[in-house]
Structures are given as C-alpha cells and as structure tokens.
C-alpha cells in the first residue's frame, strides 16, 4: 500500500501519534472509572455522597470520555496524515506542543472538579477560562492538519471533507457555547438555553465528523475499495449530515422556549435522518457480505459493531424526534440510552477500530499474541452495552408512566430501581470489556522492542508492509 518513502515518513511521526493514542486511552480508562462510580451512586444513595457526589463524578466522567473521543480521533489523524499527504507533518514540534497543552489542561480540569470548582454548564462543567485553553490547544492540531494536507477540496475524498468540517465546527461551536459570558445572552434564559442547545448539538456533530471520517478512511484501507470515498452517494450523505449538524441541534429541542419556527426547522431537518436510515437498509445486503468476509479482521469487526449501533441509535433518535413522543421521552433515561449507544456503540467502536488498526501496523506480531483478548473484549463490551442500553430504556418506561400519572420523583426513582441495578451491574461488565481492550492496547504498544527482536528472527523473509497485510487467524 505504501511505498518505502512514505513508510519512513510515517515512522517519523509515529512516536507523537502513538503518545496521543495512549493519552486518549488513559482518558477513556479514567472516564470509565468515574462513570462506574456515578452509576453506583444511582443504586447506593449514600455512596461517596459527602466528598465525591454525582456533582463531581458526572463532570469527571463527561469531561474524560468526551476528551477520549476527540483525542483518539486526533491521534488517528496525526498518524494517517503523512501517508495520505505523502509528506511529513508540517510542524512536528506542534504535535508535542498540543500534547503538552492538553495534558496540562486535563490535570487542571480534573483537579478543579475534585476541589469543587465549577463552571456549571452542560458538557463544559469546568470554569470558563479552561474553555479558552482547550480552544488554544486545538490550534497546533488545525495548523498541522491544513498545512500538511494542503487539501484540494475539488478532488479530495469525503473523509478529508469530514475532518476539515469537524475541525472548523469545533472552533465555531466551542466559541458559541461561551456566548453566555455576554449579558445579551446570559440575562435572557430563553436565549441562553436555545443557544446552548444549538451550540452543543452542533459540537457533537463536529466530533462525529472527525470520528465518522476516521471510520470511512479505515473502511477504505481495510477493504481496498478506493472509489467509495469519492462517490456521489458518499458526498450526498456528507452534505446531508452537514445540514443536520448545522440545523438539527440534538433531539429534544421542542421544549425549548424559542420561537415556534426554530423548533419546526429542527424537526424537519431531523426527519432527513430517515434518508440515512433508508440507505442503511438498502446497503444492508452488501454490507453484510463484506462484514462476513472480513469478520476475522479485528478492526473490521469493530466497524461492524459500530454499524449495528448506528442502526439501533438511529431508530431511537427517530422515535425521540417525533414531537408528541418527545414530550414524554425528554428528561428521561431514554436520552441517556441514546447518548450511550452513540458514544460507546458507535464512536468508541470506530475509534477502537482505529486504535487496533494502528497498533497492528506498528506491531503486527504482538497484536497477534493478544488476538483472543481483543476478541473477547469486543464481545464483552457489546454484549454488556446492549443490556446497559435496554436497562436504561426500561427505567425510562417507568419514568414515562410516572410522569403521565403525575407521580413524585422519589417514587418513580424507587420503582425504577431494579432496572437501575441492572444498569449499574452491566456497567461494571462494560467497564471490564473496555478495560480489556484498553489494557491490551497498552501492552501491544509497550511490547515494541521485545517484539522487534522476535520479528527479526521469524519474519526475515518478508517486509513490514507484508506483515501488516498478513491475515490474522
């Protein structure tokens, strides 16, 4: 796939990209720890209530897992860029600057949460000044992306469009979500909440662009089909998603007190997702055949699971988008189910595919040694995620019934307790499944030198490229 020249090029950048990858995995691991603690606080009310209540565990969880998503996407992009562009990264030191900035920011944010110092905004629960630093930390990334690729958009594949869009809109929406610092926005609740919904909805869209772009790039690499990423159909769906990103801000904007046409626009646009849905059904046969054919490839298996979760999440999203139903589903754990399906089922599976794709390239032999572990990690994760997801839906049904008969929160919570127990315990298994994937990734990454020697002995007859191409059994 790559000639000798680009092989050398990518090796120069590997170290930094791998450092990012390991950083990203650490965010996920820590984020899961706090997620699990938070889930336990649902079923044991007194658990850590005095010093580390949900007031702190939730922001720790949310910050760390969101940061996992975009850091893993950035790590992959740093790794793939030189090969795609055919030249080394424009600003090698910029990658390390980005790495240093982001690490320091994370230490500060986590310490502030522990200390109880908050900004108290959804997703961005840290003090506002940290938002500025996060924005700055993306600057070296953006410079490297655009200056290395020098994209020619006329002929570029769809994933380049998607990555570019993701970066552009991250800057726009992170800035937009701090408009509340101005009186004009802060002192009018209707404006503040509407703009917050709008900014955050689009922000989620922006990192989805980064993650889905990565998924499409991987698909191209794994299947060898170079045409798909340039096809009219791919671009049609890119523009459809872009329209959704711009005008469909999340799934329960109907209760927002803005003017009625604002809600109307969100609704009409959200229904275009039906087209995406229809396309999945149409492509179903084709994708099942490729999935079967490549199932033995672990990154491909992760992509297949991501596909299944796209399907499930889209059904739920469409249900939630019907205003009459949204009135009831909103404010219940349906929303949590939706976001868990999207962030774990889709995003994390896609990003894990990218992680293992890279690790396999870097260290094919060690990857082989851990094949069984990775495989069981994938199954435990997806199996427990399904139970996790169903338990949230079940508890939502109890909540919806409660709200129809106008019951008080405490009793509704009491009634949904059995489901919340299933939620917390399957959460523990989810933790184990993803934990296996994370620990094996660390191990493969660390076994570098040791395996290199073995590689010399065993694989002297073929080049590194061939090793990568070898099918694993």
């Amino acid at each position: 796939m790559s000639n000798n020249g680009s092989h050398i090029i990518s090796h120069q950048n590997n170290k930094a990209a791998k450092a990012f990858l390991l950083l990203a995995l650490s965010y996920l691991l820590l984020g899961l720890v706090f997620g699990l603690l938070g889930a336990l606080q649902y079923i044991f009310p007194e658990f850590l209530k005095a010093n580390l209540s949900f007031q702190k565990t939730r922001p720790l969880h949310v910050y760390l897992v969101i940061t996992w998503i975009f850091t893993a996407a950035q790590a992959g992009i740093y790794y793939y860029l030189p090969t795609i562009a055919g030249r080394p990264l424009y600003w090698q030191k910029g990658v390390w600057l980005h790495f240093a900035m982001q690490s320091v920011i994370s230490v500060v944010v986590v310490s502030e949460f522990f200390a109880g110092s908050f900004g108290g905004r959804e997703y961005l629960e840290f003090p506002p000044v940290m938002g500025l630093f996060i924005l700055l930390s993306w600057v070296p990334f953006a410079i490297n992306f655009f200056a290395t690729l020098k994209p020619k958009y006329k002929t570029a594949p769809v994933y380049i469009w998607m990555w570019s869009t993701g970066i552009l809109f991250f800057f726009i929406t992170l800035s937009e979500s701090y408009l509340w610092l101005f009186d004009f926005f802060r002192n009018n609740m209707i404006r503040d909440i509407t703009v917050q919904w709008k900014a955050l909805g689009t922000m989620v869209g922006s990192w989805n662009m980064l993650v889905y772009g990565t998924g499409i790039y991987l698909m191209e690499q794994l299947s060898g089909d170079k045409k798909a990423a340039y096809s009219k159909l791919s671009f049609f769906f890119y523009f459809l998603s872009l329209t959704n990103l711009m005008f469909n801000w999340g799934h329960h904007t109907y209760i927002v007190p803005a003017a009625p046409w604002v809600r109307m626009v969100a609704y009409i646009i959200s229904m275009t997702e039906l087209l995406i849905f229809g396309n999945i059904i149409l492509q179903y046969r084709k994708s099942v055949t490729t999935a079967r054919k490549n199932y033995h490839l672990l990154p491909h298996r992760l992509l297949t699971f991501a596909d299944i979760w796209v399907f499930i999440t889209l059904i739920l999203a469409l249900i939630m988008s019907v205003p009459a139903w949204n009135y009831f589903t909103h404010g219940t754990h349906v929303t949590v189910a939706h976001s868990m399906g999207a962030t774990i089922g889709i995003n994390t599976m896609l990003l894990m595919a990218s992680v293992f794709f890279i690790l396999k390239k870097e260290n094919a032999l060690s990857f082989q040694q851990y094949r069984k572990w990775i495989s069981s990690g994938i199954y435990i994760t997806n199996g427990s995620l399904l139970i996790f997801w169903l338990s949230l839906l079940a508890s939502a049904v109890v909540e919806i019934k409660g709200s129809i008969s106008n019951e008080i929160f405490f009793y509704v919570m009491q009634k949904s307790l059995p489901y919340l127990r299933v939620f917390a315990y399957s959460g523990a298994f989810l933790f184990i499944g993803l934990g296996i994937l994370i620990i094996t990734s660390y191990k493969i990454a660390a076994s570098k030198t040791q395996v290199k020697q073995k590689t010399l002995k065993r694989t002297f007859s073929f080049s590194p490229e061939q090793t990568v191409g070898v099918k694993d059994h």
């Binding site: 209540s53 007031q55 922001p59 908050f118 006329k154 919904w197 709008k198 671009f235 927002v256 803005a258």
Partner: protein, 123 residues
C-alpha cells in the same frame, strides 16, 4: 460544485444563527430591578454548585435528580418543597449548607425559569 454547496450551507448557517440569536429568542418577561439582581445571582450560584450535574433545565443536565424547569409551578412541588431540599439536601442530593440569601436567589432564578417555560407546560 461541492465548494459552492458548502458555502451556500455555511452562509445559511451564519444567517440562521444571527436570526436565532435575536428574533428567535426574544423574551418579554418583565421583572423589577431588584428581582433581576436576585435572578442573576441565583443563576451564578446554580452554575457554581454545578446543579446541572444532577438536574436538567429544558432537558440539559444530568439525570440523577429531577428536572427543575417547572418545579416552581408544579402542583406537587412548588416553593416550600424546593426550599426544603435546598436547606437540607435529600437522600441523594447533598446538603450544600447554603445561606438563606443564597436559597432566596436560587428560588428566584428557578421561578424565572418557570416563567419562561410556556412551551413546556401542558397541564
């Protein structure tokens, strides 16, 4: 062609944003000056204590605690009920040992939020 579509969409997005920031989100709620001061302080406190981690306003926030958008006018809850939790905490809600003036400000803020919730109330 692709670039043209992108630019058209982008311009539409910027225009739409501007309209949402202004026309789409006008508010005609009138309050006396002193009440506004309390509302604004309540909002700051709501953020400082990260109430959003457990409670939602208009669907934004965490799910461990109840949605608070219409707590003030809710026939089952209302001001006294809210004050009781703010004063003492609950089974899962911690007691933040809030000063009485802080509780007043938080209640004023939540009362104001309730007033904006015209799309929300159906009862």
């Amino acid at each position: 062609m692709k670039m043209v579509i992108f630019i058209i969409l982008f311009v539409a997005y910027i225009t739409y944003s501007a309209v949402v920031y202004t026309k789409g989100t006008k508010s005609n709620i009138q309050l006396p000056e002193t009440e506004w001061a309390k509302v604004n302080r309540g909002k700051l406190l709501y953020q400082q204590y990260n109430c959003t981690s457990c409670h939602q306003l208009y669907g934004l926030g965490g799910y461990l605690g109840p949605e608070l958008t219409t707590a003030y006018s809710d026939s089952l809850r209302g001001e006294t009920y809210m004050r009781a939790f703010l004063k003492n905490g609950g089974s899962r809600m911690p007691n933040f040992h809030l000063a009485d003036t802080d509780i007043d400000a938080l209640v004023s803020f939540l009362k104001y939020v309730d007033q904006t919730a015209v799309t929300y109330k159906h009862k």
